[in-house]
């Protein structure tokens, strides 16, 4: 599903965020991406979201090389990815429902399918009763779950999460991890960037460890 081949990323300011990183993530595979802050976690996610382009090497998504996508193809490509952001990236000028519906509106769903899918996604994160509220009135954990509902509403093939449990208590974190696991069970590739080692150690998923832009460890959590 995702393949990094000798990927390096140097930012315009000369900082080498990634050095010769290679890995392969399969459909339905769930993985953690960890490392100190500045180790390159965000850069991996940005390359996968095509917010940044690799300076060297290739990033593949289902045999498609992300290095040579047109602006239009980038937009279409992003529709097949769901991303959960640390700062949620919600829009506070509209309801929870409208936030979650945004990817469907962009993809051009009709009203009926849209309502059904949005409610299914909100139901999954336990926020069905809050669809008409403004996300501003929700707690941090609830906002995070709105972000998850939006990430999954379009049935993405790849789900990315940047510190999804960053500000949450352990119970909420566990609930959110459950949701991610359910998605990997139905064939969605999931990659979670986090430095919450306590959380990681509770699951035996694949773990990728970055250090100063290099991939230093890659294996099941308990082996690593």
């Amino acid at each position: 599903m995702i393949r990094f081949e000798q990927v390096s990323k140097r930012y315009p300011n000369g900082h080498d965020a990634l050095k010769q990183v290679s890995f392969h993530l399969r459909s339905g595979e769930m993985s953690f991406l960890t490392g100190h802050s500045g180790a390159g976690k965000s850069t991996v996610l940005k390359l996968l979201m095509h917010i940044e382009k690799a300076s060297q090497g290739q990033v593949f998504f289902n045999q498609q090389n992300l290095n040579n996508l047109s602006r239009h193809s980038i937009a279409l490509y992003r529709r097949s990815i769901g991303m959960v952001y640390q700062n949620h990236q919600l829009l506070f000028d509209r309801s929870v429902f409208d936030n979650v519906a945004l990817p469907l509106i962009i993809a051009g769903y009709n009203q009926r399918d849209m309502g059904r899918r949005v409610r299914a996604a909100l139901d999954k994160v336990g926020l069905l009763s809050k669809e008409n509220l403004n996300p501003l009135t929700l707690s941090g954990g609830e906002q995070q779950r709105v972000g998850i509902a939006r990430a999954v509403v379009n049935k993405p093939a790849l789900l990315l999460a940047d510190e999804p449990t960053g500000n949450l208590d352990p119970t909420l974190s566990a609930e959110i991890m459950d949701i991610f696991q359910q998605f990997s069970q139905v064939g969605v590739a999931v990659m979670i960037a986090t430095h919450d080692l306590a959380l990681i150690s509770r699951y035996d998923h694949r773990l990728l460890v970055l250090e100063n832009g290099k991939l230093v460890k890659d294996g099941a959590v308990h082996e690593v």
Partner: protein
Amino acid sequence: MTANRNNTDASSSSAVARRGASSQVVTFREKTASYLQNHRYVAKDSLLRLWLHPIASLMTLAVIGIALALPSGFYLLLKNAQSLTKNWDGNAQISLFLSDATKEKQGIELSKTLLEMPEIEKTEFISRQQALKEFEAVSGLSDIMSGLSDNPLPAVITVYPTSSAPESIEALRKQLTEIPEVELAQLDSQWVRRLHSILKLGQRIVWALGVGLVLAVMLVVVNTIGLAIENRKEEIIVTKLVGATDGFVRRPFLYTGLWYGLAGGLLALMMLESVLIWLNNPVSDLAQLYNAHFILSGLGFINAMGMLLLAALIGVMGAWVAVGRHLREIEPH
């Protein structure tokens, strides 16, 4: 309880996933329908956004309206002036006013003799009675004329020169003054021609003014939409992150431009119409005083529609320029 919920969630999620997979095959018809649906939604939403900031929107609209109304107003003024002077021929002609002693027969005779001159293309004899009738008809001052006991108008021979060069016409006029029956030879087209060239100049000025103000309207739209884009920066970034194409991001702003243009154009039409109504009474009163009938004419349906269309076009173009400038700068990072 939690486990139970998770169970049903898992089963429902796979059901949803299967449904999702099957509905990945979106037909062309469905795509078109949802595309149109998005257009309808965006059109309504962008109008609503203008409505939600009435003061700011009205100020922008007022600027657009006034800038569009000014050249159109001048255009109307010129059009009315032209229609007033339309019946006055711009071609040069010399009027030979014959002395009162000249008999009608002599006059006709003279006009025939004049035709033999190579400088003269055509002559026309107008007897005193004909002159009176014509004057009444053209000027609309019939009441005043009928109040006079005697016909004050002389018989006239209108001479149409072959040449249109002012010098040769002037030479001809001098030559014709020598004829004993001719009391006065007048080159009567001079002031009409001056008026026509003033109107022509006016037309040019209106065009220049129009082009300038159309550009100004466009800049106002570019600026306003630019601000709107800055205000919705966050939203643009988020929509791009979830897969919005440039077209999708551009759409609401193009509609905003369209509404600004249309509403500004409508406002301009309303302003013009009000000024016309306001002026029409005094103008027709004034005409009445000369026993003439004259009403200011408005833009007319076709021109009004043309103006709305132009205004809408300016709005959309301004928005396009604004979006083009900002769209590539606002990217997720």
